[in-house]
């Protein structure tokens, strides 16, 4: 009897989380910001209103912020640098990044990506992944962040949304 009880409790705590999370979430439709369209993966929800320049999706504590603008003369490397300097560094009391790496997204857009760790102004330890991509007439920055240790579990979803985005 104790063995059955322990087994059931473990299955409920570990396996039931997904069911409860799905039951308490609402499915989000495709998010369109100007020329950029992103299809949320199952379980991802909109967080706040979608504007022509910004949208936020979240799955639990993992947040994907999508910022859209016009083309940047320096290409994705300058776009990534500006995003780091103007958006990320002021938002963290401690902040460190990896070196930017060039990439080509599945949709053909040239991109630069880097990861970062930091402690937010209110003391939360976060880790993040930034993908800055650009086409001839649009630039877009995907910034996924989560509490330390949590982001790894959402990387597949994030990769799918970023790579599958229409830009």
């Amino acid at each position: 009897m104790p063995v059955v009880l322990v087994t059931v409790l473990v299955v409920v705590v570990a396996g039931g989380a997904r069911s409860v999370a799905d039951a308490t979430s609402t499915e989000a439709g495709a998010v369109t910001m100007g020329a950029v369209r992103v299809q949320p993966q199952p379980g991802w929800q909109q967080d706040g209103p979608v504007t022509p320049t910004v949208a936020r999706l979240h799955k639990g504590p993992v947040v994907l912020e999508i910022s859209v603008a016009g083309p940047v003369p320096g290409g994705p490397i300058l776009l990534a640098t500006l995003y780091r300097q103007q958006r990320l560094e002021p938002a963290f009391s401690q902040f460190a990044t990896t070196s930017p790496e060039s990439a080509l997204l599945r949709n053909g857009a040239a991109a630069v990506r880097f990861t970062y760790v930091g402690i937010s102004a209110d003391g939360v330890s976060l880790e993040g992944l930034v993908v800055a991509a650009e086409t001839a007439d649009t630039s877009v920055v995907f910034d996924a962040r989560a509490p330390s240790g949590v982001l790894a579990g959402a990387l597949d979803d994030i990769r799918e949304m970023v790579e599958g985005a229409t830009i």
Partner: protein, 394 residues
């Protein structure tokens, strides 16, 4: 007769007739597959960083494993059970905790993503992770009930389980949170292990194991019902300690970029959150040792003069330093075989105490068998030239 004596102690984890063994094995196999795949994916980020992570964590964990294993001065736990506790923490608990990540989503769905980001790690992770690690300890107890005698045994198994969890979690943090490059791994090692390696999962799950040991102990005459509140309090303390560690408060570490002596603030910063619980656990371990010594005295006092143990042997047996000194003296005077034989006699005399505390009557067959076995070991020792003189106290 020998079978009666052996059946009481030193059991291995491989108890195929126990349903709990197969449940434990199934969860462990699932966790091993899931975590090996996940850790393998992290290796693709940086093979050198991944390898460095494991090397550093082996250097950290190996001495800690020995320290934990030898905490119980009177009775060493079976190696296979100790390894099983470590593996449960490393693979089963970590994999199940990943599966339970949906509770963070539930918190975000019921509140806001911002609240979940800020407070999720201190509200969901401590409860879920301590439960999943504790569930493994309960299964271990159900597999080898005779090997969880008291609070100290529970602490040893719990701390090993927590250490296993911490090692795998650290690899994930080094690779995913600190970038995975060798320099990132070194920075992660400094922050998570050098600055805070004595706090964390080892303490939390050690406390959970202590509570389980308190509930199932057969050395305490207090009714189980009366021990439950204290056990619940110990588990609550473990969860609260974990929650405080994860909470976004009391973060005093210096701002990046960190240079020179500023790195020394990390141990100070992390000690503020971790040191109080560490001190509590050290005091608790001290009390648990005293409790074990009192138990040994009570159990063996009545055995003096019945053949299993003499008054002089008991005086040596109750002080671990004197036990080790006696073995060294025996080895010097009677040779290595005599030293080993005395060590074995001492272990069997501690088992005699365990048997004595489990049986109702002083003439119970297993107790008589254990006394005779100790007597035969002493006779074999006395037959070794030089051993008899070395056995004299003083």
């Amino acid at each position: 007769m020998a079978a009666d004596r052996r059946s009481l102690h030193h059991r291995s984890i491989f108890q195929g007739r126990q349903p709990a063994f197969w449940v434990f094995a199934a969860f462990l196999a699932y966790g091993a597959v899931r975590m090996i795949v996940a850790l393998g994916q992290l290796a693709s980020l940086s093979r050198s960083g991944w390898a460095l992570s494991w090397i550093l964590l082996v250097v950290y964990a190996a001495p800690l494993i020995l320290l934990i294993y030898y905490l119980d001065l009177y009775e060493r736990e079976p190696v296979s059970v100790a390894i099983a506790a470590f593996l449960w923490g490393a693979f089963a608990a970590t994999a199940l905790a990943l599966d339970a990540g949906g509770w963070d989503e539930v918190l975000a769905n019921l509140t806001t993503p911002g609240f979940a980001v800020r407070w999720g790690p201190s509200l969901t992770a401590p409860v879920i992770e301590e439960f999943l690690k504790g569930a493994g300890l309960v299964l271990l107890y159900l597999i080898v009930r005779d090997e969880v005698d008291d609070m100290m045994d529970g602490f040893v198994y719990g701390a090993l389980c927590g250490l296993g969890f911490a090692v795998v979690e650290d690899v994930v943090y080094f690779m995913a949170g600190f970038g995975g490059t060798p320099s990132g791994v070194l920075e992660g090692f400094y922050v998570r292990v050098v600055s805070s390696g004595l706090y964390g999962h080892v303490l939390y799950t050690g406390l959970v194991g202590t509570a389980i040991g308190l509930i199932v102990t057969r050395r305490d005459p207090t009714p189980t019902r009366e021990r439950l509140p204290l056990a619940a309090g110990i588990i609550a303390l473990a969860v609260l300690g974990h929650a405080l560690w994860n909470a976004p408060i009391l973060a005093l570490a210096p701002s990046a970029p960190v240079h020179g002596a500023a790195w020394l603030w990390y141990p100070v910063d992390l000690a503020i959150k971790g040191l109080p619980l560490l001190l509590f656990v050290l005091v608790a371990l001290r009390l648990a040792r005293n409790r074990e010594r009192r138990w040994l005295d009570a159990a063996l006092q009545a055995e003096v003069g019945r053949g299993g143990v003499t008054a002089d042997e008991l005086a040596v047996l109750r002080v671990p330093a004197r036990r080790r000194a006696a073995v060294r003296t025996m080895r010097a005077r009677g040779g290595a075989a005599a030293g080993r034989l005395l060590g074995r006699l001492q272990r069997e005399q501690i088992d005699l105490a365990m048997v004595a505390s489990r049986v109702a009557a002083p003439d119970a067959p297993e107790l008589v068998a254990q006394r005779r076995y100790c007597t035969s070991l002493r006779a074999a020792l006395d037959a070794i030239p030089g051993a008899a003189a070395a056995a004299q106290p003083g």
